[in-house]
């Protein structure tokens, strides 16, 4: 009986946070795979037009944003590590750093959108820019939700009465998983929109 319980506990701890969040990760990955599939398919139909539009994107902005988001993933991972070790103040600091990187990403993204619109590359100006605004826009929405998720992390880390519960730690890890997913999806979007020529 005890062995069964231990087995069950091991299975539950096999993934960080709630295993349920991984269902979300899987499902969203499938949905984005479909988006990417449509993008790649239509790209093969008119490769020159896509290349021409793609050349108007500034690769430096894409690289900068990717680095910013990777740094945010690093800081949220540090946050989880610190929380696991019971170091809640450093964990809280890392959560704020993550939010800061997220905010930088959002500001740069809005700047990039405004710049493209000024250049005459709107949502419906070409097939490539339709995908560009669509994919970066839906990712933007995911990132906005990420701020709510970071709010949950900060709330859990700031809540009084240590020692904090296992549930609280699990929530922190679940939220970090969401943040990593947003980062992971961005890396794919960056590769497809900015790098693949």
């Amino acid at each position: 009986m005890m062995a069964d319980l231990a087995d069950k506990s091991d299975r539950v701890r096999f993934v960080p946070g709630q295993p349920d969040m991984w269902a979300f990760v899987l499902f969203e990955t499938l949905v984005f795979t479909a988006y990417f599939g449509f993008y790649l398919f239509y790209r093969t139909q008119t490769p020159e037009a896509f290349l021409h539009s793609q050349a108007q994107l500034d690769l430096r902005i894409g690289v900068f944003n990717t680095l910013v988001l990777l740094l945010s993933s690093w800081s949220v991972a540090r946050c989880v590590q610190s929380a696991r070790a019971g170091a809640y103040q450093p964990a809280l600091r890392d959560a704020y750093i993550t939010a800061f990187f997220g905010l930088v990403f959002l500001c740069v993204k809005v700047f990039e959108w405004a710049r493209q619109i000024q250049l005459g590359n709107g949502f419906d100006s070409s097939d490539f820019f339709t995908y560009y605004f669509f994919l970066t826009g839906i990712h933007f929405v995911h990132l906005l939700i990420g701020f709510v998720v970071l709010g949950v992390v900060i709330y859990q880390l700031r809540s009084p009465a240590p020692p904090r519960s296992e549930r609280s730690q699990q929530l922190v890890e679940t939220c970090a998983t969401y943040w990593h997913t947003v980062d992971f999806l961005w890396v794919l979007i960056f590769a497809l929109l900015y790098v693949v020529r």
Partner: protein, 274 residues
């Protein structure tokens, strides 16, 4: 702190025996019969809803947004029987939707969260039915039954119908998010947490339909691969999942206020019956 109201043991226990005996018992004695009735209504509603739209009225999948006026008028003419019959059925059964929403609101009342969640959900989904269902039906029926109108007016109805139906899916966004938050906050284990996250996936695809107001062709048009086909797949998965989830909830319901008991394995019941 919650006081658990324990239901009387014997009347709530279904008898062993053939399926039809058990169904008859549930109809006449089960304390859950109202819940089963609501769930059955949900099944009837969706079993009529989809065939009506796809087979009888043939208005889904949506036609091309780029058709010229003559083709649009012809499209209405081809459906001069299917649209009135199909939407007649929809107007007759549309009220069932209220029962579906009530069952979902009930699931939120059974949770350990504020009742405001259930009430908000009911209000939002009741209002959403107008742009999300009835405007389409009304516009298409008018277009079909007034064929002598100016083709410009018929074309306007064509646009109005599909833009109001597909382009306003965002009205369901907040409803899905309310259910999601309720599930994630709930400590009565009414639904698994992954179902809460699935609500988020569904809500996010509702956002994706909005660009159909801008695009008349391509993947984001009202009949596009992303705005319609992919969203339909996600919605289909979500739909089937929430019907099964509600079924499981009713099976587990004990009319208490604490955590819902885990489902009893069928094997144990069969053994007990034997």
């Amino acid at each position: 702190m919650s006081a658990v109201i324990t239901p009387p043991a014997s009347p709530a226990t279904p008898p062993a025996g053939p399926l039809h005996h058990r169904i008859a018992w549930h109809l006449s004695h089960s304390p859950k019969r109202e819940l089963w009735l609501a769930w059955g209504t949900l099944i009837v509603f969706y079993n009529l809803f989809f065939p009506v739209f796809f087979i009888v009225a043939q208005v889904q999948p949506p036609p091309q947004p780029t058709w010229d006026l003559a083709t649009q008028v012809h499209w209405f003419h081809e459906r001069h029987l299917g649209i009135p019959v199909g939407f007649g059925i929809i107007f007759a059964i549309g009220g069932m939707n209220a029962i579906n929403n009530a069952l979902i609101a009930y699931s939120m009342r059974r949770m350990s969260v504020s009742r405001a969640f259930g009430y908000s959900y009911l209000l939002i989904y009741s209002l959403s039915a107008i742009p999300g269902l009835y405007l389409l039906c009304i516009a298409l029926i008018v277009g079909t039954l007034r064929p002598e109108r100016d083709p410009e007016a018929v074309g306007w109805l064509y646009d109005f119908a599909f833009l109001s139906f597909d382009g306003t899916m965002g009205v369901f966004l907040i409803g899905s998010l309310i259910w999601m938050v309720a599930i994630l906050l709930d400590q009565n284990r009414v639904f698994p947490k992954w179902f809460g996250y699935l609500n988020l996936c569904n809500a996010l695809t509702e956002v994706v339909v909005a660009p159909c107001w801008i695009f008349r062709r391509g993947v984001l048009a009202w009949n596009g691969q992303i705005a319609w086909w992919l969203d339909m797949v996600v919605f289909g998965v979500y739909q089937v999942t929430f019907i099964v989830m509600l079924f499981q909830m009713i099976r587990r319901e004990d009319f208490g206020t604490g955590p819902l008991p885990e489902p009893k394995p069928d094997l144990a019941r069969k053994k007990a019956a034997a």
